[in-house]
Symmetry: C2
Amino acid sequence: MPPSLILSRRDLEFLLHEWLDVEGLVERPRYAEHSRETFDAVLDLAERIATEHFAPHNRTADEHEPRMVDGRVQLVPEVADALRVFADAGLMAGEFDEEYGGMQLPHTVGQAVFAWFKAANVGTAAYPFLTMANARLLLAHGSEEQKATYVRPMVEGRWFGTMALSEPQAGSSLADITTRAERQDDGSYRLTGNKTWISAGDHELTENIVHLVLAKVPGGPPGVKGISLFVVPKVLPAGDGSLGERNDVVLAGLNHKMGYRGTTNTLLNFGEGVHTPGGRAGAVGFLVGEEHRGLTYMFTMMNEARIGVGMGATALGYTGYLHALEYARTRTQGRPPTDRDPTTPPVRIVEHTDVRRMLLAAKSYVEGGLALGLYCARLVDEEQTAESTDDRGRARLLLEVLTPIAKSWPSQWGLVADDLAIQVHGGYGYTRDHAVEQFYRDNRLNPIHEGTAGIQGLDLLGRKVVMQGGAGLVLLGETIAATTARAAGTEWAAHAADLDALVARLGAVTATLWGAGDPAVTLANATYYLEAAGHVVVGWLWLEQALATGGRTSDFHEGKRAAARYFHRYELPTVHTRLDLLESLDRTVLDTPERWL
Amino acid sequence: MPPSLILSRRDLEFLLHEWLDVEGLVERPRYAEHSRETFDAVLDLAERIATEHFAPHNRTADEHEPRMVDGRVQLVPEVADALRVFADAGLMAGEFDEEYGGMQLPHTVGQAVFAWFKAANVGTAAYPFLTMANARLLLAHGSEEQKATYVRPMVEGRWFGTMALSEPQAGSSLADITTRAERQDDGSYRLTGNKTWISAGDHELTENIVHLVLAKVPGGPPGVKGISLFVVPKVLPAGDGSLGERNDVVLAGLNHKMGYRGTTNTLLNFGEGVHTPGGRAGAVGFLVGEEHRGLTYMFTMMNEARIGVGMGATALGYTGYLHALEYARTRTQGRPPTDRDPTTPPVRIVEHTDVRRMLLAAKSYVEGGLALGLYCARLVDEEQTAESTDDRGRARLLLEVLTPIAKSWPSQWGLVADDLAIQVHGGYGYTRDHAVEQFYRDNRLNPIHEGTAGIQGLDLLGRKVVMQGGAGLVLLGETIAATTARAAGTEWAAHAADLDALVARLGAVTATLWGAGDPAVTLANATYYLEAAGHVVVGWLWLEQALATGGRTSDFHEGKRAAARYFHRYELPTVHTRLDLLESLDRTVLDTPERWL
């Protein structure tokens, strides 16, 4: 069998076993039933189902995007077929507790498993992705009754889930949502309002859809402190496990996107009176946790979703890279510029240095992104199962700092990998006869949803690096220093020293920025700060990978070292330029009023 | 009337009149009939026709891409309507000689005029773009008979033209084309072969299509030195001005693209025997100039086409920027991060610093790109009409050096401007309800066609900066130095000094690269060299624009200076990082064999 163009199993093996020691997790009680063999088996299963059931309809679902017919969402039938196979294989349940029929896989393995589906068909993979995140939120914050009612059907793949946050006038700014939830005598609530950008918001794939909805209870505080979270099922459970009345949640329209078309994206109206549960209008919702704490709960899901978006961006870049590599190995064209003899046969384009440069760049982005995503997943496992409270706390803190980067960095550079994949294909890459143009269109969503790059920059510089007196940034620096220390005396020592210098500068620049005395100045170039920090983190993870190759000389390990060198030589130096600008407290943008644009 | 979202007339006025002194050209005999008033009138006309006839079907043509029905190409009818208005207004003839019914506009004005159509609807604009380039090539290299037969109908818009270079196995590498042209007793040739990527290669818009085809005459030298150029009309002219037999040129299929869909892109088979002109198979072609010199002639058209592609990329970026600016001025969302009070009303997003940063960045790219394109057009005017041979020669030399940059720089950064335009729109920008996603898809073609970025890099570093003993680079350096000298004593002196330092480094790095003694090493990072040189050139043109504002303090002039500052502070410093890498003669990619990828 030729190597997969979806994802590299060899790379996953390297990251999981030669680097992250996932096998070591089986010593912890939660994963005691597992072993290298069970991990391998589920990865085999994921590769097979992604290859046989997800990848084949990736283009079909793009060409025949979801349509609204008689108030229902019509999808190509392959989507339902693939998701049935996915759920039947137990993959929806992968990371969940045994009591819910789950496999209790470590999150690191779960993320590696799921990367196969995102790379094969991100549009179809979004349905389980959202469902699993929804179920995890309810497990964390829902009542026992909510868990019993909603989690099991989702883990079994019989119901799917959504997150319904945005409204037409409130996307990045959730403080301004206007959906209202009024408390009823029986403890339930009735919701009224309009939501948009709801992925998987309606469809016929499952008999029910569990919406997690942000809304405001009248009388609460203004802004984000007055947001509460509700479970609003499309069909109300009857109590005996069967389905009851249709809830007053109505599909109001579909958004038509440039890419990511397989995932239907909807406008939903709550409480329009189209349906009348209990004999009257209003969408019935059930409060999760306490009133006014909804955004905090939602962040459980959003942080997971952010890292997941980053993984999706990496996966799309990764498959783009593999397609480009395959094309470059088979397509012949021209001769090296040093060969002036037109009678020599044309070479395969991978022999052109500039094509190899593009491939090596893409490799450094997608393998760097995968390392970042799996490292964060490993931190989730630490946070949840490390023995000492201290270790769990450190993992949580590091994860807090890394989350905006894990979301934004692959969203930026995975897209560049797909851009390079098109460029390697030349004109063919621009046609719909090849897969790469779709990856590029699909991937363009990732810098937008689950918090734009601008939002992530404000999160990192405005919150994460200053929280707890800057403890997160200090911890990141210590963690990186532990890596660079291991590089002493190796061929990586010079690169490690460069990285140490960058980390030191990043800390100093952070202090300078926050010493400016004016938050508007501090935050003016937060997106640049995010980019600089992202490159430092990925440069560190490339050093980690290079060290993890040990002295092994297989082509695979040589390739890891080549990509690490590439990233350190071509990419990391750009960080200094960014830091120079940040250090200068540049006011160019601040001092440019709107009327000059 | 609200300001146009297609292009900025104010900016064109600034570039043409406050900077490039286009009015000064009317002192030359060729343009003696012109005046500021005639230039303004044709720009008015262009804006009106672009607005009323091109922009309205931009999305329609994208949604209903050309289809092949019964062997014919079916386009939405708006394309033909728009092009009729365009030709009837005399715009096809704009720059051509009066003897062909033309207006003899300076090329600088002609490019400004045409930018309106590219920005309004690049897919429809491609038909006249190719036709005008085709006609100009025949005027430069065709026989009197060829000019009489083909140029006038094209200038009148009755026939359209194409350039047919690529073949399925030979795109970037024209040395490997296999289309054969056999000389006939009557002096004509019969062509046999398959061409692909032929934009506007077949359609029902005009009664005839004039293909300029590269082919090899048997017995000629191998490689590019054996390529000849032929006129191959779809329908053979009968000699009396009427149309005669159908030529043996057959539409073999359409390419389906990610964007730029309004321009049909075709596979054409020559000499398949479907038609039998003169009673037998074989496409009848007429040699242009001499045998085996075809690629030289074609470069007349390709250099023009390359600058034109750059202008198209700028135009698409420009309209993207204007759409984003308009959106940012009207869409409200959130509050500045310094405003923690959720009860204050949301602000228009242009008030968010990061949104203004994106807009200022995009402005610096698209206005910089427009300055570059019009500067090159001004050089074309100099090359063709300057009084002294010396001035014409200098213009030609500078244009040679700038052409790969004028093609590639806007193709890269105009696309970034469209990327930023999507980002400013947030989720809405990713939907097909807004225009910007199409600009982004359309613009992605530009780094590919008319020579990929990789090809332009080899052209610049491998040919242009070393031709004539490096005279082109020296001339560029002198030209930039003349600008920086003017900055002495102004607020721009420090930026000018930084630019001087970059120019000096660029020269030194060029010497280092060519001193490496191994062309493979010299050229390994040619694309990086191209990017570095491109930023230096645009940095220079931003300094030019800043100086051209004089001390004027209108919002428009303040905006020019703000964008100049932005480019110098945010963008130019990245050049040093590129030059560091080039200077080190880095071998990372060269030393990475294929098997490590």
